[in-house]
């Protein structure tokens, strides 16, 4: 009985996981053929539905700081990949790899991140 319960729960969890892993929206706005590396400081990590966001301040060519928005999966999805609401806090130095927005504005789709202590998440 216990084994059946575990199996049922695991199956249900798998199905739910598959369901929520379906993207809430299309990602055609991001250029999947391009990768861009950003080195900056976390301004904010928004653990929100339908997608989590990393806001990072990155110096431009003139040395002026610009805000970039990096879109991630949903909270449930990234939690299963090892993320937590406090994984990133304001002021953390990070290196991000993103698929940039096709229109050239400051944003992209999250691919991976390297934290200051060398911790890597995703596919940096």
């Amino acid at each position: 009985m216990r084994r059946q319960l575990v199996a049922w729960t695991a199956s249900a969890a798998f199905l739910v996981s598959c369901g929520v892993a379906l993207a809430h929206h299309s990602f055609a706005m991001f250029d999947a053929d391009q990768k861009m590396s950003l080195a900056g400081t976390v301004k904010e990590f928004q653990w929100v539905n339908p997608h989590a966001w990393i806001f990072v301040m990155v110096p431009n060519r003139d040395g002026q700081m610009e805000q970039w928005a990096v879109e991630m999966g949903g909270p449930g999805q990234i939690a299963r990949q090892g993320w937590a609401p406090k994984t990133l806090t304001p002021g953390m130095d990070v290196k991000l790899v993103i698929h940039p927005l096709r229109d050239g504005t400051n944003g992209g789709q999250f691919m991976g991140i390297t934290l200051a202590d060398g911790t890597q998440l995703g596919n940096p």
């Binding site: 929206h25 929100v48 610009e66 928005a69 229109d103």
Partner: protein, 211 residues
């Protein structure tokens, strides 16, 4: 039992949303939810439809820090309204006085539409998505006004749209076990936390990589 507890704990982490000041606002009467950085101003106005009629429209907007965040829901009860005509007319209207930099297919849940990037003559940039769903035009627009560069917020806003009618399932990736809180015309599900000022990293932090 530990296996069950682990699975439940992992899935439950997809629960309460947290953001500095953005909150999710649900409008079940119009079957959508969207995030704003402040309480939106809600207005009822008219929208010039493709056939020349002035049809009712509901506008939810916030203007803040050099940005305009606007969600427009246009009632098009006439079944003669064709999706392509509605979307094309909206694109034409949006691009007046500006240049479309990007016009690509878009999808939110099971609703398909268009996504645009528009640069106006004054330098403002808009990130827009358009959908025709259940006899309504949904138009979400995040605009960054010059001389600022708030495109990140504009994108974040535009990407927050969710359809909440039954054909599109529950809003968002919430995981099981979370209490579904649905407030009529009000915020839901957000906490606040502070942010630190940016500091100069001393060199350009952007590098394009080969894929």
């Amino acid at each position: 039992m530990r296996v069950i507890a682990f699975i439940v704990a992992v899935l439950a982490t997809g629960g309460p949303a947290a953001a500095q000041s953005w909150k999710e606002y649900a409008y079940p009467d119009y079957a959508f939810a969207v995030s704003f950085p402040a309480n939106p101003k809600i207005e009822t106005t008219t929208y010039p439809a493709a056939d020349g009629r002035a049809v009712p429209a509901h506008v939810y907007s916030v203007t803040r820090d050099g940005s305009v965040f606007k969600m427009t829901v246009v009632e098009l009860p006439d079944s003669a309204s064709e999706e392509s005509a509605v979307i094309d007319h909206a694109i034409t209207t949006l691009s007046q006085g500006g240049e479309i930099k990007l016009n690509i297919p878009a999808r939110v849940s099971r609703v398909f539409g268009r996504q645009l990037s528009v640069v106006e003559a004054n330098g403002s940039r808009s990130s827009v998505a358009l959908f025709y769903h259940d006899s309504r035009l949904y138009q979400i627009e995040g605009k960054s006004l010059p001389p600022g560069n708030a495109t990140a917020d504009a994108i974040r806003f535009q990407q927050s749209l969710m359809f909440t009618d039954s054909s599109n399932g529950p809003a968002g990736d919430r995981g099981p076990g979370q209490r579904q809180r649905r407030e009529r015309d009000g915020p839901r599900g957000a906490d606040t936390r502070g942010s630190a000022p940016a500091r100069d990293l001393g060199s350009e932090g952007v590098e394009t990589l080969r894929n």
